[in-house]
């Protein structure tokens, strides 16, 4: 340092220090103000936002699932309820020696040796204080076995959760539906927040259609958690106030199903594939809805293995398929009362004129021959007899005379080709054919021969068992009808029942009372022997109430006349058997449609089942004895 160049100037230095110190203070002030500004921004301006975030940090909502509403039959019998299922859960940090514990659980046959690795991995992947399920669905025997050794298993305990229980097993499974684990697809359709804590969701049937009502509202506990997610009691020195809301149980549904009637339908079909639908014509209540084969809904609630599901889904008999709502079949001769009404209403038939039923029908201006079905020759029949004895030739001619346009127009109000509007989903509309329909869907002209076939319910016409039960109910009420329904009311927690009013359809108009009488007399004739025995007289021999019915046989496969050896046909090529009926005729309380797939003849396969169902409903000790049918005027006597 050369003192001549730079001399230490103390006065100058003093000034420099002062300036710099002042500068430092200015900078400090600016920085402190910036800091305070930041703090005011965080603590005043955005205070609410951060309070919410901190609340979200420290409070976890622990959902309390609402118990699912029950499903009752129309008399209060339980069709679906809840029951606890037991599972084994393990808390890692409370287990002294995890490997040893797992080994001893295997020794007790509570864990499958093959699952050891999976279970260990699951346990280790969760937090040490989480309760991890290691075994689901314990049997009573397993619960007992564990309970005896419980004291040796520190950190392992039984846990319960609610699962769905169907006291009657497979009974009415297609009406009730089932519940199963919430799938990814379900998650897109539900309010996830509302389903937090819920494990099962309704699939199909009432369980699905009334999911909202059955589910109820989940409650919650607020839980104080620390940063690791562990539930804690205190926050520093304080125990903060935590909120909770109790769950609101789902609503108990009163279904229209009548247990005894349903049971009769299930028993009647036995091992046959088919469907039975019974409706109360006075309000649309579905008294029984059977589709066979069925399946065990409990399997879905507890969780199906892949192979179990595959075997159900790939079963040739399609147990998961709801035949009552989704099975579409040709109606067969069950259409005849409606064709008869169409002819009467359009004034193209003299009901008293007898036709000779020769077993074969020549379509005018055509070379086509239409053969009588399997019921043989009937001789001279009038309209009533033609219905009672199901004369095909009579209806070939009648249908041909009325014409397809008038038939289709007349049938549409009965609900053919349309959804009945039942309160569960999945229903199929079937097909009500017409020239216009054929042109639209098949791009083909309508042939006169197809009108002839329509007269006996063959060809393009397709109906579901539910639709035909609905038609039977319409016939019973002479054109009046209600939308079919499976749920009739909601049972409140105090036991009172809030009914759901039935929905009435627009009535069928233009049919005179005399015409109704004629056709219904024909149907009643089918179940009796006055003067000649009807097609279903056998099954209804000695019946205690007046029944009106109609058999039907739907062709699965067209067989030539020479091959007509029903019993030797391969079973699945046999005709489907139909029977529709209602009773008591004078004041109908039940209308039934029975379909037996490949059952052959309607009279022999389907009608006895319908009788069982009606007997079960009408002849019950607790129901009033059926009024004397002779007292009813305007109907044919027995």
């Amino acid at each position: 340092m050369d003192p001549r160049v730079r001399i230490k100037d103390h006065w100058n230095e003093q000034r420099l220090f002062s300036q710099r110190t002042l500068g430092a203070f200015v900078v400090i002030t600016v920085l402190v103000l910036t800091l305070i500004g930041r703090l005011v921004f965080l603590q005043v301006v955005r205070h609410d936002y951060y309070v919410e975030l901190s609340q979200g940090n420290r409070v976890r909502l622990d959902p309390i699932p609402a118990s699912r509403g029950l499903i009752l039959d129309r008399n209060g019998g339980l069709l679906a309820d809840n029951e606890p299922a037991y599972q084994l859960e393990l808390i890692r940090e409370q287990v002294p020696d995890l490997n040893d514990t797992i080994r001893r659980l295997v020794a007790l046959r509570l864990i499958d040796p093959e699952e050891i690795e999976d279970i260990r991995r699951t346990i280790m992947s969760r937090r040490s204080f989480d309760s991890v399920p290691v075994r689901l669905r314990l049997t009573d025997e397993e619960i007992g076995r564990f309970a005896v050794h419980r004291f040796q298993f520190q950190g392992v305990d039984l846990a319960t959760r609610q699962t769905r229980h169907y006291p009657y097993g497979r009974l009415a499974v297609h009406a009730l539906g089932y519940v199963s684990a919430i799938s990814g697809q379900d998650l897109e359709n539900i309010d996830r927040a509302a389903y937090a804590g819920t494990t099962l969701i309704g699939k199909l049937g009432i369980e699905s259609a009334y999911e909202r009502a059955l589910h109820g509202k989940n409650g919650f506990h607020e839980i104080l958690v620390n940063a690791q997610g562990r539930s804690v009691q205190r926050q520093g020195a304080y125990a903060p106030e935590l909120h909770s809301a109790p769950p609101i149980a789902g609503e108990d549904l009163v279904s229209s199903i009548d247990l005894a009637t349903q049971q009769a339908g299930e028993d009647g079909l036995g091992d046959h594939r088919g469907a039975v639908v019974a409706i109360d014509p006075r309000n649309g209540d579905v008294l029984a809805l059977v589709s066979k084969p069925g399946f065990d809904p409990a399997a879905f609630a507890r969780g199906l293995s892949r192979s179990e599901y595959d075997s159900l889904a790939n079963d040739m008999d399609k147990p998961l398929f709801n035949r009552a709502l989704r099975g579409t079949y040709p109606s067969g001769s069950t259409i005849k009362p409606v064709i008869a009404l169409a002819g009467l209403t359009n004034h193209v038939v003299d009901p008293a004129r007898e036709e000779f039923c020769a077993g074969v029908f020549h379509l005018p201006h055509s070379a086509l021959l239409f053969r009588e079905g399997k019921s043989g020759r009937h001789g001279n029949v009038d309209l009533v007899q033609a219905i009672a004895r199901s004369c095909d030739v009579y209806f070939f001619g009648l249908a041909s005379t009325i014409g397809v346009d008038r038939i289709a127009a007349f049938m549409a109000p009965f609900g053919y080709g349309a959804l009945t509007g039942i309160d569960i989903s999945g229903e199929k509309p079937g097909v009500l054919p017409s020239p216009e329909w054929k042109m639209r869907t098949l791009k083909q002209a309508w042939y006169p021969g197809e009108t002839v076939n329509l007269g006996i319910g063959q060809g393009y016409l397709l109906v579901t068992p539910l639709q035909l039960a609905h038609v039977a109910a319409e016939l019973a009420e002479r054109g009046k009808s209600f939308r079919p329904r499976l749920v009739t009311g909601i049972r409140r927690s105090d036991g009172s029942i809030t009914p759901i009013p039935p929905v009435e359809n627009p009535p069928i108009e233009g049919v005179s009372a005399a015409d109704w009488n004629l056709v219904l007399r024909g149907m009643q004739g089918a179940t009796g022997c006055n003067p000649v025995c009807g097609t279903a007289a056998g099954p209804f021999k000695g019946v205690a109430y007046a029944v009106a019915g109609k058999t039907g046989t739907a062709q699965v496969f067209t067989v030539s006349r020479s091959d007509k050896l029903t019993q030797q046909e391969p079973e699945r090529l046999r005709d489907h058997a139909w029977f529709i009926a209602f009773a008591p005729v004078e004041a109908p309380r039940i209308a039934v449609a029975v379909l037996v797939e490949n059952g052959g003849f309607g009279a022999s396969a389907a009608a006895p089942i319908a009788r069982k169902v009606m007997d079960a409903y009408l002849l019950r000790p607790d129901t009033p004895p059926p009024p004397d049918s002779a007292a009813a005027e305007g109907h044919a006597g027995d």
Binding site: M1, R6, I7, K8, D9, H10, E13, L16, F17, S18, R20, T21, A24, F25, I28, L31, V32, T34, L35, I36, R38, L39, V40, L42, Q43, V44, R46, H47, Y49, Y50, V51, L53, S54, Q55, N57, R58, L224, V225, N226, A227, Q228, V232, R234, Q235, G236, A237, Y238, P240
Partner: protein, 377 residues
């Protein structure tokens, strides 16, 4: 007079206290400020540590150790300190090298020297040794310093700062560099040069990006946008802002801050304790804390201004202003104004040897002040 009036008794007590303080070379107001700050710190620490009495007792022990160092250093004359400077600096650099070679791994970084009884961070020495040596070098040179002096001072600063930075302890390195840089600024570094250096620094930052450790880069990136990694590197910043913001004006109450008490706030009793104050005592608590710090800084600067030799003035100002830098960096990083670097909140954060170093620094500062008349110039 046989009977004392209350007022005269008070006056006498005060005057005897003043005598005692001056005999010990202590400054009353600064001591009171430090005392209140330490007390406030202990109160917060008790809550932030999850009501750990052990933590509070340990901190009390460190405070006692620091107080002892402070009391001892007040008696050191500027001349003694000046002569000590080169040796302390050399010893510090040597120890840093030793740490580099044999240091015990602590928190993934080599910072600690295990002396058997206690572990000790040599970088703490440099927080005082760097400004001391810089002041020693500049005290008899004309100010503002010329180029040659600046380069030498830069060397004095960056050798230890570099050694600490590669440990890697960016926070302490920054503080060491700051203590030296502030001293040069106070020595009259041309403001034009400062501007140039800032521009160069910005350029160096862009260039230096390649030399940063991954976690250091991550810290800078997450500072710029914490939401990119809410559960990883951004977690600290997000949680501390939630803590401060949710505290509001009045706070959630002592020991009732959910962020701190339920451990959502990481490093709650060490680097992020500022957020605990904000959460439990609110804006008011933070303003009180800042007021205490500002008082200490102002009083320190005032004391520094009273000294009348260049060495004392530069060293004292550096100590005072570095203290503020400490506060600002910590408060700034916790509230999201500056990137997260490991700088504790002085005299409040738990742990480390920084309490001892800080109080030793204030001891030096008070000593420089009380020895001011003894120095001839």
């Amino acid at each position: 007079m046989i009977e004392d009036t209350g007022r005269s008794r008070t006056r006498r007590t005060l005057s005897s206290t003043a005598k005692l303080l001056s005999a010990l070379n202590l400054d009353g107001p600064l001591l009171v400020g430090l005392g209140f700050l330490s007390l406030y710190g202990l109160v917060i620490l008790y809550s932030a540590s999850g009501q750990s009495t052990v933590t509070v007792l340990r901190t009390l022990m460190r405070l006692a150790l620091g107080a002892a160092a402070m009391l001892a250093l007040t008696h050191a004359s500027p001349n003694f300190l000046r002569r000590l400077s080169p040796w302390l600096y050399l010893a510090g650099v040597l120890l840093l090298l030793v740490v580099e070679v044999t240091g015990v791994i602590g928190k993934g970084a080599q910072r600690w020297l295990n002396l058997g009884i206690f572990r000790f961070q040599p970088s703490e020495i440099m927080k005082l040794a760097v400004p001391m040596l810089a002041a020693w070098y500049l005290h008899d040179r004309p100010l503002p310093p010329d180029w040659k002096s600046l380069l030498l001072v830069a060397l004095i600063i960056f050798v230890p700062a570099g050694l600490v930075a590669i440990q890697p302890d960016l926070g302490t390195a920054a503080l060491i560099a700051a203590s030296g840089a502030l001293l040069v600024l106070m020595a009259g570094l041309s403001l034009r040069l400062v501007l140039l250096l800032l521009l160069l620094g910005a350029g160096a930052a862009v260039g230096g990006w390649h030399f940063l450790h991954d976690y250091q880069r991550e810290r800078v990136l997450t500072f710029l946008n914490p939401r990119t990694d809410p559960l990883g590197a951004g977690y600290h910043i997000i949680q501390s802002q939630i803590a401060i913001g949710s505290g509001g004006v009045f706070g959630k109450g002592w020991m009732n801050g959910s962020q701190a008490q339920l451990q959502f706030l990481p490093e709650r009793s060490t680097d992020f304790i500022f957020a605990v104050v904000g959460e439990e005592f609110g804006l008011i608590g933070l303003l009180l804390l800042l007021a205490l710090y500002l008082f200490i800084v102002s009083r320190s600067v005032w004391l520094a201004m009273q000294t009348n030799d260049t060495f004392s003035r530069l060293l004292a100002l550096s100590i005072a202003l570095t203290f503020f830098v400490y506060v600002f960096i910590n408060a700034g990083m916790v509230s999201g104004l500056v990137p997260v670097v490991g700088v504790p909140l002085p005299l409040v954060s738990y742990g480390g040897s920084s309490v001892v170093t800080l109080l030793a620094g204030f001891g030096i500062l008070m000593g420089l002040y009380s020895h001011r008349k003894l120095v001839g110039s």
